[in-house]
Amino acid sequence: MHCNACVIFIEEAIKEVASVKSVNVSRAKNHITITGDFSDTPEKIAETLTALVHTHGYTISVDKVNASAQWGDFIYALPIAGVIILGFFLLQQAGLTSLITSSDVSYGTVFVIGLIASVSSCLAIVGGLVLSLSANSAKEGGTWRTQTLFHIGRLGGFFILGGLVGLLGNSLHLGLTANVVLGGIVALVMLILGINLLDIFHFTKKLQFTFPSAFSRHVVKGSKHDHYLAPVLVGIGTFFLPCGFTQSMQLYALSTGDFMQGALTMTVFALGTLPMLALLSFGSLNIAHKPWKGIFFKTVGTIVIALALLNLANALATAGIINPLFNF
């Protein structure tokens, strides 16, 4: 169980049963307490009730299910993660930025900048976040809809916010302190999501970011299981992530002094980043149903944790707290 909405969903489903008097689901403990008038054995009841929630991926059992950590998956996951991390760093050294030779900005240039941004250092922060969120979502039974909504939110957000930057002539990028704080927060979110993907500790589940019950109740009534709003908001929020390329594009959008030009600049840039980000999000969704998904999630978890630590070290270095540890 992942969210407060799921808790409500399960409670509502079980309440429908005539013989049930009260239901109480604990998300933290993965625990459900049902009271009522039953004639069957507890095992039989659990089986009947499971039928109600099984289509959504839940199983009710009397015994505590000990999810095995499946340490064996790490034998493959760790070296694969290592190869990908090494590949990422080598890519950074390849001097992709020198591919941008033109200094006047056309929409074509902006698209190319977007393409380069999506495989450059921004991959560590935006890509890392997309990967950790989509893999977590896929792991918890999220659908293509969640991922699509994220990308729609990102494109739409870039259009509107880019237009506003152009219109108001006011940059929306954040100051030094806010930048460092945001970088730190993103790193911590990635760290928690990464550890969660490894599926070896159960305490991080409690640390997960969840919406308040009242909000979930509202959303869940309309859409049953999947959230609509959250992925869209996260998509829009990527506008503010501390990625150098995004910020340069915002500065350019600002200099246009026009809503449409600013909006189109940012949208074209977001379109340039789309292939890589879509690959990450839909790729993880696809793999989440493959037999070797355990290895995949542990690989992604390891990569996300490494990127989170990298982002954290960078945030601390920009704050002047520690000396820079890395230079790409």
């Binding site: 991390i85 080598l90 200094s103 922060i125 990028h173 970088g183 910020q247 500065l251 820079p324 790409f328």
Partner: protein, 131 residues
């Protein structure tokens, strides 16, 4: 099982360790800083030129301490992080134009010790050593 686990951990450690070594800031093996460019002093003002694109170049400059200094950062089609320059000790942060030069004034009293500059995401950096 145990052998493969051991091989796996060894290979991973090697890969990740190698990757981090590759991008880490290497400590100076040469204390004399031979080959490091030195800033020029013209009419009592020290001018340090650094170009920003996909990182900063030169990454390390030696300058004289206690002299009013101008750090001149030039950009040429720079859209990456190095356009977003931060110098924590000066509380300086600026977004540079994609092409152009920017003069950052360092007063004499601040021209001491090592001044560290970074891009806003922290993956590119440069050092000015005042001595």
């Amino acid at each position: 099982m145990n052998t493969s686990a051991f091989i796996s951990v060894a290979v991973s450690t090697l890969l990740v360790g190698g990757a981090f070594w590759f991008i880490s800031v290497k400590p100076d093996t040469d204390e004399t800083n031979a080959g490091v460019p030195t800033a020029l002093i013209i009419d009592g003002t020290q001018v340090i030129d650094i170009s920003a694109k996909g990182g900063y170049s030169p990454r390390k400059v030696i300058a004289r301490a206690g002299v009013p200094t101008i750090l001149r950062v030039s950009t040429k089609g720079t859209f990456d992080c190095s356009a977003s320059i931060i110098i924590p000790k000066l509380s300086y942060q600026k977004f540079l134009q994609p092409s152009g030069t920017e003069d950052i004034v360092i007063p004499a009293e601040k021209a001491q010790g090592t001044l560290q500059g970074l891009c806003s995401m922290g993956m590119y950096n440069f050092q000015i050593i005042f001595q």
